[in-house]
């Protein structure tokens, strides 16, 4: 198989997983909400420290532009992908300097997943295929039952929430060797239905609480845990801020 064919194949697999591509027309009410959110962030962004300004203000600018433009804007402007079924699609990937079998084994140990995923409170294995997942949410926690729908040792794991779950979601994680002996590529794809539609996703993303960002952070933490055995930090370092002894840290 040539590279072109192969990547074409991979793209097709991705599309098949996400079925329906990225439609997601914005409703008028949603557009107003997103626009208001954007303006609010612009104003917020003008105050605060430089880093905050940079990120918050930038998002505000993007959202305002998005609301003004109106047509299928979120997908292109801040890359919130949705399919025709109204599900939000996210995918992330990271390359980890270890072999796929080792990494797969870490993930297959479902009840240890909360160690990898910071927002996961617990996973209780109920049977060979079934498990109960609990995640931290702004108001308490949310929990649902999931089923493993595919299990290819060393390569792939797929799951789906059972009908009637509070968060309708499914996903897969792929492990494949990275070219040139660079360890393994770990790819995660998730589909979920956000409580407040696209605006909910956007709001959560700005608050840094959206699954796409959590996933990015979790995969980086996973990579560092595997490669270093710890996460780098500046938490608790000396600085000239009041109440020093604590400073910096991931933010």
């Amino acid at each position: 198989m040539t590279n072109i064919q192969k990547s074409g194949f991979q793209e097709a697999a991705r599309k098949a997983f996400f079925q329906g591509g990225n439609g997601g027309q914005m409703q008028d009410t949603e557009r107003v909400a997103v626009g208001a959110l954007g303006l609010g962030l612009l104003i917020l962004g003008l105050g605060g420290g430089a880093g905050r300004r940079l990120l918050v203000g930038g998002l505000g600018l993007g959202l305002t532009a998005v609301a003004v433009r109106g047509s299928n804007p979120l997908a292109t402007a801040i890359k919130v992908e949705q399919n025709n079924a109204g599900q939000t699609l996210i995918s992330e990937a990271v390359t980890v300097n270890k072999n796929a079998a080792e990494l797969y084994a870490v993930w297959r140990d479902l009840d240890k997943l909360p160690n990898l995923m910071s927002h996961l409170q617990s996973v209780v294995v109920l049977s060979e295929k079934r498990s109960r997942w609990t995640v931290k949410a702004p108001l308490g926690s949310v929990s649902w039952e999931a089923e493993i729908t595919a299990d290819e040792p060393g390569k792939r794991l797929a799951w789906a929430s059972l009908p009637g779950s509070s968060i309708d979601n499914n996903g897969e994680i792929l492990f494949r060797p990275a070219p040139g002996g660079r360890g393994s590529e770990v790819v995660v794809r998730l589909k979920y239905r956000a409580p407040l539609g696209t605006a909910g996703v956007v709001a959560a993303r700005i608050a840094g609480q959206e699954p796409a960002q959590q996933l990015r952070d979790d995969l980086m933490r996973f990579k560092r845990e595997q490669e270093l055995g710890f996460a780098p930090t500046t938490q608790g370092q000396s600085s000239g801020r009041t109440g020093s002894g604590r400073a910096g840290g991931a933010k």
């Binding site: 940079l54 960002q213 600085s239 400073a247």
Partner: protein, 401 residues
């Protein structure tokens, strides 16, 4: 301990802050014996680097003695005299293992911030250089925490004075990498260096060490040009002559085979945030400030290299890409993979090939840092490079020694 703190644009101060402690088992604590102010610290002073916070400890060029090691530190022990690269690298990731230490995947805790600005994955952490680069406390202080101490602690086992080895932490390797990136053909290639600041000085002397047939340096400050001329480097004062014509003349009309932009871009951070909060003024400044890069591209000979050790942070405007394309130029740039160069360059210093202390114009106590940041920024008093002693007594007003 005493430390130099960033307090906002154009404001640094020296204050007493808590001593650093080990935060991870792979950390070490170093008692700083000498530290320097770098040209890139001026970008922080000028407020052009986003994500600084009041109270951040500055400084990324420092050396000293190991006074404490975490339980996982294997190669260093208390009492070792070390120089510390300005970039922080894990030593384990694929980039570190390929020697691309400044691209370390794992050393920046704030990777999300950097990814938002630069896409893909972020570069590694830096000492004392904004939260975008990890928010690590810097080394213009009496003590500093050194993360990944086994990777970032380079022992100095000879009795060479601090002043001869201190610049292994940044400006010497940075100038050297810039020259190395030119792939100079010994005895044949002519190299032009734009900017005769500390990095430009080391780039020019490194080009000589790498066998350039002729090295030309471009600046406007006579004392900087004079310092380069002492080493047999030809000089062009761009305030006195037209750079492009002078370079043509100096190279028989061909242009230099390789050009090094050791000026960089003062105005950083042209992400959406910078657009928002600074509007036109800073933008205009930026467009002016890529003059050196523009000259470099326009003057370079066909098939040559444009090597860029000078720091760039965001977007640039009116880059003569057509000229670069027409001449088939190669661009090489990026933060220095400092770890790679420390041992080979130390060997050059030990062999007497170069004495890096030639750039030092000002020596003072840490307490004098606020005054010297300004002297250095304004290029007053012939200031080229400042070295601070964290344990010295302030002498009041500091003059060139």
């Amino acid at each position: 301990m005493k430390a130099v703190l960033w307090q906002g644009t154009n404001h640094v101060s020296v204050e007493t802050v808590p001593d650093p402690t080990l935060l991870l088992p792979s950390d070490a604590i170093v008692r700083v014996s000498s530290t320097a102010i770098c040209g890139s610290d001026l970008h922080l002073l000028d407020g052009f680097i986003p994500s600084m916070e009041k109270g951040d400890i500055l400084g990324h060029e420092f050396m000293g003695e190991v006074v404490e090691v975490g339980r996982d530190v294997k190669t260093l022990k208390v009492g070792d005299r070390v120089v510390i690269p300005f970039n922080i690298a894990c030593g384990t990731c694929d980039y570190c293992q390929r020697g691309l230490f400044s691209a370390c995947d794992n050393s920046n805790p704030n990777h999300r911030m950097a990814e938002a600005l630069y896409g893909a994955t972020s570069g590694g952490g830096l000492f004392g250089y904004s939260h975008l680069y990890g928010g690590y406390a810097g080394g213009q202080a009496q003590y500093v925490r050194v993360p990944f101490a086994d990777v970032g602690g380079f022992k100095i086992e000879t009795d060479l004075p601090d002043e001869q080895v201190l610049f292994l932490t940044d400006i010497f390797p940075t100038g050297y990498q810039a020259a190395e990136n030119c792939n100079i053909v010994r005895g044949r290639d002519v190299v032009a260096v734009f900017g005769a600041g500390p990095v430009g000085q080391f780039a020019a002397r490194s080009a000589q060490m790498l066998g350039a047939a002729k090295v030309i340096i471009v600046d406007r400050f006579p004392e900087r040009l004079r310092l380069a001329a002492e080493a047999g480097i030809e000089t062009i004062n761009y305030e006195k002559e037209d750079v492009l014509i002078a370079l043509k003349e100096a190279t028989g009309g061909r242009g230099p085979d390789h050009v090094i932009d050791a000026v960089g871009l003062e105005a950083h951070g042209h992400g959406p945030g910078a657009l928002l909060d600074t509007a036109q003024q800073k933008m205009k400044l930026t467009f002016d400030r890529i003059t050196a890069l523009r000259w470099a591209i326009l003057s370079c000979a066909k098939g040559g290299t444009v090597s860029m050790p000078g720091v760039y942070g965001g977007l640039v405007d009116k880059l003569p890409l057509g000229a670069a394309f027409a001449k088939g130029l190669t661009f090489k740039m990026g933060q220095t993979h400092t770890h790679r160069y420390i041992r080979p360059l130390l060997a050059h210093i030990e062999a007497g090939d170069i004495d890096p202390s030639f750039v030092i114009t000002h020596r003072a106590a840490l307490a004098d840092a606020p005054q010297l940041y300004k002297t250095f920024r304004d290029k007053h008093d012939g200031c080229i490079k400042v070295v601070l002693n964290p344990w010295g007594e302030s002498a009041g007003e500091v003059k060139r020694a």
